[in-house]
């Protein structure tokens, strides 16, 4: 059996060098151990939590950059524009406080669960994922990054270095609604995030709505998003049509039936929009 190593690089170049030979990236560890049961790791573990530059949220004029090891508690405590209110709400719904204190935003994306709490809000925010390897750095949209359950576009030698959210118009507001069987520590049955910008007259200028846990990968609702611009914001919630959710493909599981998920998602979409246009 291969002798797996536990590596704790102190800088990004060191991390990328370590990754060159493959390995499992470890940050908050909240998905790492549960996925492994009692078995020993068979490959190198590359722990990226000792790289200071990755633990930063940088709010610039054109974008907000969330470093790879920024935790959900960091996001919840950060001063961010109202467009991020959905993301901040999601930050308080990821497990309990002890998960939020160590679990990372980027890790939530890399784990690529269909029910990842962080995905709908970041999809709605038009987030991009920055990936680095020794060969260079690239940035792709979150929708391109997430390929399927537990599958992403990250190459084995790549590290997600940041999640980058391009600026929304000032005044854009975000929301997030999670539906589960209990209040805390719950995998959602369905969840929705909306981000909407309106002009001075209250008309929608830009809207994004994403639904999680209702398809293999969380999905935006393009038909709805195309209809909303130009509409008075207050009319947005009631404009939601059943066909807007046709892009979803929910399954039956222990948390709920597919039929229920679609119906609940439609209700949540309406309510998520109502929160941001009220």
């Amino acid at each position: 059996m291969m002798r797996a190593r536990y590596l704790q690089p102190g800088s990004l170049p060191e991390a990328l060098a370590a990754l060159d030979g493959g390995g499992t990236i470890l940050a908050g560890g909240t998905d790492f151990h549960p996925a492994r049961d009692a078995r020993a790791a068979a490959e190198d573990i590359i722990d990226i939590t000792r790289i200071p530059e990755l633990r930063r949220i940088e709010a610039g004029t054109h974008a907000v950059r969330i470093g790879a090891t920024v935790t959900w508690s960091d996001v919840a405590a950060a001063s961010l524009p109202p467009a991020f209110d959905g993301l901040k709400a999601a930050a308080r719904e990821v497990g309990g406080a002890q998960i939020q204190n160590v679990g990372t935003v980027a890790g939530n994306l890399c784990n690529a669960s269909p029910a990842a709490d962080g995905v709908p809000a970041l999809l709605a925010l038009d987030a991009r994922v920055e990936l680095a390897s020794r060969a260079g750095t690239r940035s792709i949209s979150l929708a391109q990054f997430l390929l399927g359950p537990r599958r992403t576009a990250r190459a084995p030698d790549e590290l997600v270095t940041a999640v980058i959210v391009p600026a929304w118009p000032p005044g854009a507001r975000g929301s997030f609604l999670k539906l589960g069987h209990r209040r805390y520590l719950v995998i959602s049955i369905a969840m929705v995030s909306a981000v909407v910008a309106c002009d001075a007259t209250g008309r929608v200028t830009r809207a994004a709505v994403a639904v999680g846990a209702c398809s293999a990968v969380a999905r935006r609702l393009p038909a709805l998003e195309a209809r909303l611009p130009g509409m008075p914001g207050t009319a947005a919630p009631e404009s939601v049509q059943a066909s807007d959710l046709d892009v979803l493909a929910p399954i039956d599981d222990v948390r709920g039936t597919a039929e229920y998920r679609i119906e609940a998602a439609r209700v949540l979409v309406r309510r998520a929009l109502a929160q941001v246009v009220a």
Partner: protein, 926 residues
């Protein structure tokens, strides 16, 4: 900074960190998880492991002041950081403010979640010393508790911001009725309490069990010698061939469950083979590597299939796959229903429910020489040390005297630890290896292999006359008992007795069957089938009330059993029948709830929210159904002037280690602070039966009282006074006073017995019952608990979600020996009832963890108002009856009644999940 770069993940390295203010250097694999490092390298076993996956929060510690799951953090990530565990809260042995508040409020019951709760609360209070309740819930939301219902934990955290202080212990003669903080509490809030996984002899081997992945299969074991050669970590293997008597069960017949399956498995998760060796190495072996050839057979997945499976029996002794039939018939139910003015009927279903105690089963066994006699010692978490002793002796074909069972502290039981689990496996392994062997179930193993609440399918019909007096109940229930008998017959026999509810009903026909299937074993779970039955019959009570045009509480009060009333088994209840009183004390809360519903619904007009209130009643026979269940207690006075209570009434969080001394103290007439205890070691205490059937307060409490009175009589004799004398201890001088006479006896130099006591007393109590005849007529229980609960709910009719806003609970407990503990039982029962009603359904293979199997969190339990009704039972200790199971039974039907009040739909399936409720609201079928 220490940076163990480039070191093998499994190789040892040095990690320096600060733990509880002390600089420590750990020498372990950098990937080793902090929880294991704390427990194994530093001996800090106060940090508990409940799930190993971040789902339960039991392992919560502070890392640089913030709460984190120690089960998820590689020890390398803790390097250079500051870690605080529960042991760090009272470094000088003086409990801190939060710990003291936990004790005052009864916030620790079994104590397994307590360290995690304390650490989560400490994180909050350090940053925010005066939090709101919502902030407390947010901070504690990641720690699961299965005992308390969270309310007393929340109260304790909030109390740290107040001037509240500890009360003085009760004076002599005043212990009963006193809110004495639990006597085993300090160990629970400091992390020193030893649970099943917290203790093992040095050098103990680890036992890992390989389990069936199939619900029904035949199997053959291949070349184990070759397997062992290719897996040198395996130091021993146990199979069915190593078990001298390969069968066990809770009752004498049938002993149907093998310790290790012998060529045939009957449920997914059945134990097949054990691997013994060093833990990490043994756990790392893939199950597929073990040479077992499976021949998968079609499983009987439902009772319907099992009942229809002609000639295909799970067990030869149970033709038609029926383990047991229960029957109570009185009068002519069918005739009375035909003539009833109003009738209501329905079919109701409930699913598998998992106990979900936070402590997975764990323990160790060792073979030892006891003065030339070879004996086996088993340390394990259990609700029944004496049964464990019998079963381990049976399996090893030893005399019971050759087995010693030492119960660990138990991190929740609720009936799930009333069957043996690790005990016989460990004993067989230790016997074969002649070395100590320990084991700890994984969460998945605990869930897949241990018992569940019986899924039920119940058809019931109730009828009343024009005035709303019940005339008949016709009840038929099938209970899916799974692959082995366990407690299935208890469920089948207990349910018919209770099927007509706490009401006077002249005509009753109640039939039950416990049906074998290839499902998880269904066994004991808080209420033994009565909660399922209550869901059905209380829904029908609402139907009848509506048909009669009567208020739901008034309708129940009209029919309530009262002293002098006759039950369905023909038993005349002569005393302690507090049903009507429970309803009467709840009447103002009921009116308040109905008024509040009106106001809330008005305020919610135009929204998808609908409010409702529901009410349900229950009764529950205390102790075993007819079957003898005696308890024996002994108590001595030693030369140091202290009493020693040899207390075999197993503590499972409910408080037997507190209330037995309270009872004994008052019977002796001495302060409870003079009583020490030895707990449940089968070598040192007598059999006080099982912690089941809500029996300990009533049965063992009586034994404790009788033992104390016996000792009192002897002491009075020794001092030359009559038993009416008042006794006290002045150091080592026994002082007796009677009618102006004062006698003193120095006891410090008196002769002692083998236990070191100068005098001792013994008490035994077995509840008087009369066997049931073929129609179930007789006296199944000596006394009954009664309760009524009100639930107020808010239903979102667009999503099918239900939020419980308040529960009001009135319980006739006869006498509350310790009101704080009684409230704790009620809160915890309500939390489990809420889970049963709204979210809990175990599906083997799909919910074998604590993130797919959901139990209520701190955010799900509403405020609970408790009304303790004390209608004393004349033959009970100070009048006290049990409350453990009664606490849960009325909750789900009260919630379902409230949902119906809010929406008009009758809930016929538990749990009432959002998708199920939405389907009902849309007019759909089950």
């Amino acid at each position: 900074m220490n940076r163990p770069s480039d070191l093998p993940a499994q190789a040892l390295t040095a990690v320096a960190l600060t733990v509880n203010g002390r600089q420590v250097e750990l020498h372990c694999a950098p990937a080793k998880r902090l929880a294991y490092a704390l427990r194994e390298e530093l001996g800090l076993t106060g940090t508990k492991l409940g799930c190993d996956a971040g789902d339960c929060g039991a392992c919560t510690v502070l890392v640089d002041g913030r709460q984190a799951c120690a089960c998820l953090m590689p020890v390398a990530q803790a390097a250079g950081r500051t870690v605080v565990t529960v042991e760090g809260l009272a470094p000088d042995g003086r409990l801190n403010r939060l710990q003291r508040a936990f004790l005052r409020h009864g916030a620790a019951q079994c104590g397994i979640c307590t360290p995690g709760m304390l650490m989560a609360a400490t994180d909050l209070l350090t940053r925010n010393p005066t939090p709101t309740e919502a902030e407390v819930r947010d901070a504690l939301g990641g720690v699961l508790c299965r005992c308390t219902g969270y309310r007393k934990i929340i109260d304790a955290v909030l109390a740290t911001a107040t001037a509240e202080s500890d009360a003085a212990p009760p004076a002599a003669g005043n212990a009963v009725g006193h809110r004495l903080p639990r006597l085993d509490g300090p160990a629970k809030v400091t992390g020193t309490e030893a649970f099943g996984a917290d203790r093992a002899p040095a050098g103990a081997l680890f036992l890992r069990v390989i389990r069936s992945p199939h619900p029904r299969a035949r199997f053959t074991i291949g070349d184990l010698a070759a397997f062992c050669r290719s897996h040198p970590a395996v130091e021993g293997v146990i199979t069915a061939a190593d078990v001298p008597e390969n069968s066990f069960a809770v009752f004498p017949t049938p002993k149907d469950q093998p310790v290790l399956a012998d060529g045939h498995v009957r449920f997914r998760g059945e134990a097949v083979l054990g691997l013994i060796g060093e833990e990490t190495a043994i756990r790392a072996i893939p199950a597929e590597a073990v040479p077992i050839a499976w021949e998968v057979l079609p499983a009987l997945e439902t009772p319907e299939q099992a009942l229809a499976a002609t000639g295909d029996w799970l067990h030869e002794f149970a033709p038609e796959n029926v383990l047991c039939r229960g029957r109570v018939v009185r009068g002519d139910a069918h005739g009375a229903l035909a003539g009833a003015a109003f009738t209501a009927e329905g079919e109701f279903r409930t699913g598998h429910v998992e106990h979900a105690y936070i402590e997975p089963e764990a323990g160790y066994a060792e073979v030892f020489d006891d003065g030339g006699r070879t004996r086996v010692r088993v340390w394990a978490c259990t609700q029944t040390p004496y049964m464990d002793k019998e079963e381990v002796a049976r399996v090893l074909r030893l005399a019971p005297a050759d087995v010693q069972v030492v119960p660990s502290a138990i991190g929740g039981g609720f009936g799930g630890k009333l069957d043996v689990s690790v005990q016989p496996l460990l004993a067989v392994a230790a016997w074969k290896m002649r070395r100590p062997v320990r084991m700890v179930y994984t969460r998945a193993e605990s869930m897949v292999s241990t018992t569940k609440r019986h899924p039920a399918r119940i058809r019931a019909r109730l009828g009343c006359d024009r005035n709303g007096h019940l005339v008949a109940v016709d009840f038929a229930g099938d209970f899916n008992t799974g692959a082995y008998a366990s407690w299935g017959s208890t469920v089948a026999n207990r349910v018919p007795v209770h099927a007509s509810g706490p009401y006077a009903v002249p005509n009753v026909r109640a039939l039950t069957r416990a049906v074998f299937t290839h499902n998880a074993i269904a066994g004991a779970f808080r209420g033994f089938g009565v909660p399922q039955a209550c869901i059905a019959t209380e829904a029908l009570m609402d139907d009848l009330a509506m048909q009669c045009g009567q208020d739901r509480l008034a309708f129940r009060l009209r029919n309530a059993l009262r002293a002098g009333g006759v039950t369905a088994t023909g038993q005349t209840l002569t005393a302690s029948v507090g049903m009507a009183r429970c309803l009467e004390v709840l009447a103002p809360a009921w009116q308040g709830a109905l008024d509040a519903v009106g106001v809330r619904n008005q305020a919610a007009a135009g929204t998808p929210l609908r409010h409702g209130a529901g009410i349900a009643c229950m009764w529950y026979g205390i102790g075993n159904t007819v079957i003898a269940n005696p308890s024996t207690m002994t108590i001595g006075l030693n030369r140091r002037g202290r009493f020693m209570l040899y207390n075999g009434a197993q503590e499972i969080g409910q408080g037997t280690y507190t209330i037995m001394p309270q009872i004994a103290a008052d019977a002796l007439g001495v302060p409870v602070t003079l009583i020490d205890q030895i707990h449940g070691d089968t070598d040192r205490t007598e059999d006080a039966g099982k912690s089941s059937a809500s029996r300990q307060t009533f049965v063992s409490g009586n034994a404790a009282r009788l033992a104390a009175l016996d000792l009192r009589r002897r002491l009075c004799e020794m001092i030359g006074l009559t038993p009416a004398a008042a006794l006290e201890l002045d150091g080592t001088t026994l002082v007796g006073r009677e009618a102006g006479v004062v006698r003193r006896l120095e006891i410090g130099a008196l002769a002692t017995d083998a236990r070191g006591d100068v005098a001792s007393g013994r008490g035994t109590f077995n509840p008087p019952t009369v066997p049931l005849d073929a129609d179930g007529q007789g006296v199944p229980y000596a006394t009954y608990g009664f309760a009524a609960q009100i639930a107020e709910v808010e239903v979102d009719v667009e999503l099918g979600t239900v939020r419980v806003l308040h529960v009001h609970a009135a319980h006739d407990v006869g006498r509350a020996i310790n009101p704080t503990l009684v409230e704790g039982q009620i809160h915890g029962g309500i939390a489990q009832g809420l889970g049963l009603a709204l979210m809990e359904e175990y599906v083997s293979g799909r919910t074998d963890n604590l993130h797919d199997y959901l139990i209520p969190t701190a955010g799900d339990i509403p405020p609970i108002t408790t009304f303790i009704v004390e209608d004393p039972e004349p033959i009970a200790p100070y009048g006290a009856k049990g409350v453990g199971e009664p606490a849960l039974i009325a909750t789900a039907p009260a919630i379902f009644g409230a949902i119906r009040h809010a929406t008009g739909v009758r809930v016929d399936t538990a749990p009432c999940t959002p998708d199920r409720l939405l389907r009902l609201l849309r007019g759909g079928a089950r």
